[in-house]
């Protein structure tokens, strides 16, 4: 039995069992972990990015381990939103998991299509939508939606019209002023913001003088990015008054609590799941014991209490 009530209400129907979600792309569709993890104990599972049609993904190699982190260039290989709704979602709901669907597109119409599918009667069990805006917009010359204020504002405003579900916008860190983009997303209708997605990086094999990833560049994640993520989550939390979800390099309860302290209401853990599939549950437990030992009744007692 949990001594504390750790549920977190992010608004518009998205209630987390505890403040720790599994981050998109690092926990598949949850079912891969069925033998190992009690899916009903995770704050929420953010499933891997969904596109209108199945996607093949990038040329391998797709993963490189780097100092304190890893680079990935998966290229959003996924079975498409319809296969998710037909084959994955019902089984996830049977496991009593709280499900957030992550949405990916290469043009506004892709996002609209996926969001509409995820808002229909077939998708009743989906508690919220997380919009991945770190993708290149093919119609705008490949520039990512999340790095351009106009593209971002127009996209989120459009999606707001397509759904009554909780809209979480996942901010890209590959920008100069994340606070400004955070404000734009909220003005356009975001219910919450998650920060951050992976940082663009590269690794090469010096002897062969070749890139290590088939895609040349990839997204950096893991402990190496935590200071950057913490700084950005703090800036975002200061800039907006919707809930902020901290993501990036969280490996243990203390890391997660740091994000709460700088103003986040909840967190997501990604790379930590690769190290230990129990990470989301374990981190939530560690947070709880810290809160208890510090005489706090829940995470809200810590939220945004950073002293200067």
């Amino acid at each position: 039995m949990s001594p504390l009530d750790l549920t977190v209400d992010l608004g518009r129907g998205l209630r987390l069992r505890n403040p720790v979600m599994a981050a998109s792309g690092t926990f598949g569709y949850g079912l891969e972990y069925d033998d190992l993890v009690d899916l009903s104990q995770i704050g929420a599972i953010v499933v891997k990015g969904l596109s209108p049609q199945p996607r093949a993904g990038n040329a391998p190699p797709r993963i490189v381990e780097t100092a304190g982190g890893m680079l990935n260039s998966i290229g959003l290989q996924n079975p498409g939103v319809h296969a998710f709704l037909a084959e994955k979602l019902p089984r996830l709901l049977e496991r009593n998991a709280i499900v957030v669907a992550n949405v990916y597109g290469e043009q506004v119409e892709d996002y609209v299509y996926v969001v509409e599918q995820l808002s229909g009667p077939q998708a009743d069990g989906v508690s919220g939508l997380e919009i991945n805006v770190s993708c290149p917009n093919v119609k705008a010359g490949g520039i990512a939606f999340g790095v351009d204020a106009d593209l971002l504002g127009a996209l989120i405003a459009r999606l707001r019209q397509c759904t009554d579900k909780h809209l979480m916008v996942k901010l890209s860190p590959n920008v100069t002023d994340i606070a400004m983009l955070a404000r734009i997303a909220v003005q356009a209708g975001a219910d919450s913001l998650s920060a951050i997605n992976t940082l663009l990086g590269m690794a090469i094999d010096l002897e062969a003088r070749k890139p290590k990833l088939g895609n040349v560049t990839g997204g950096l994640s893991g402990p190496a990015i935590k200071p950057v993520a913490l700084r950005m989550a703090w800036q975002v939390a200061q800039a907006v008054d919707v809930p902020v979800i901290g993501v990036g390099g969280i490996m243990n309860g203390a890391d997660a609590l740091e994000f709460i302290c700088v103003g986040c209401r909840a967190v997501q853990v990604g790379t930590a799941n690769f190290q230990n599939p129990q990470a989301p549950i374990q981190i939530a437990r560690e947070m709880e014991s810290w809160l208890v030992s510090h005489g706090l009744a829940g995470v809200d007692g810590l939220e945004g209490t950073l002293n200067f």
Binding site: G25, T26, F27, G28, Y29, E32, Y33, D35, L36, K48, A56, G57, A59, P60, P61, R62, I63, V64, E65, G68, G69, M70, N72, I74, Q77, G222, P223, M251, T271, N273, F274, Q275, N276, P277, Q278
Partner: protein
């Protein structure tokens, strides 16, 4: 599908095999009961969080009393850490993993196991279980750079299996590559009664696949790619399949999930691995 487990197991034994190889044993009866040749596990030794990712290893052997063994080459930080572990140290093991396993065709009595260096690891499990499962006795073609790169050689000999050795420096067996030996052996066998099960470096597997295909000899290969989850969730370990005429799109499959053992004819063998 196999039931997967995650255990904190205690190291029962760490045995150095020559200078560069290590055999690690732990007790895990549930995992041992599920394990089949071709399955792998992912292992994490240290609670410090370094290295970041779990390390994948083929199941090398399952002992009667529910112990499992891996055999690995020490190449970097993760394998060094494991090689230095002591009996009683805790390791975190997930497995058995992989749906693509070695499948022996009982109608093809000439079973060739082909190993390049540490690629021998999963083949001992196969060799030990094959006679009881299929009544077939395999032959091992084993290649290594030097005589020191033939770990577990004696274990095959102790099973009474014929082993044909090649080393690049001629330090043991005939000088040359294991694929040279394979060419010799294949030329004397009836392709319709022959099958190949191989594990080793990509160029070796590609060459073996290239020899089997024109003769119509079925060839299964166990592949290695860098893995993050090992559970089929991240799509990080993908390899490319032969373009399927029916579908124009590139088809990538997960080595950790659809593999690690594949029918070699399905793999798109690139010039450079």
């Amino acid at each position: 599908m196999t039931r997967k487990y995650q255990f904190e197991a205690l190291v029962a034994q760490t045995e150095l095999v020559g200078e560069a190889y290590c055999r690690l044993t732990w007790s895990a009866p549930e995992m041992a009961a599920e394990a089949r040749p071709g399955h792998f596990v992912t292992v994490r030794q240290n609670k410090s969080g370094f290295p970041l990712l779990r390390r994948p290893f083929s199941i090398h052997r399952v002992l009667d009393d529910g112990r499992l063994q891996i055999l690995f080459k020490v190449i970097g930080a993760g394998t060094r850490q494991l090689a230095e572990s002591k009996p009683g140290d805790a390791i975190d093991v997930v497995g058995p993993l992989g749906d693509g396993l070695f499948r022996v065709d009982e109608k093809r009595p000439n079973v060739l196991l082909v190993a390049g260096g540490i690629g021998v690891a999963p083949l001992l499990f196969l060799a030990e279980t094959m006679p009881a499962q299929t009544k077939l006795i395999p032959v091992l073609l084993f290649g290594g750079a030097t005589a020191r790169d033939l770990p577990a050689l004696d274990d095959f000999r102790n099973l009474g299996i014929e082993v044909r050795v090649r080393t690049e420096d001629g330090g043991a067996g005939r000088r040359g590559l294991v694929t040279d030996e394979l060419a010799d052996v294949l030329s004397g066998l009836d392709p319709a009664r022959t099958q190949l099960l191989a594990c080793g470096p990509m160029p070796m597997l590609r060459a073996a696949a290239g020899m089997c295909a024109p003769r119509g000899v079925p060839c299964q290969v166990s592949l290695e790619t860098v893995m993050a989850c090992g559970l089929g969730s991240c799509f990080g370990c993908a390899i490319e399949l032969q373009p399927d005429c029916a579908e124009a799109e590139v088809d990538y499959v997960r080595v950790c999930h659809e593999g690690p053992v594949f029918d070699a004819a399905r793999i798109r063998w690139n010039e450079e691995p």
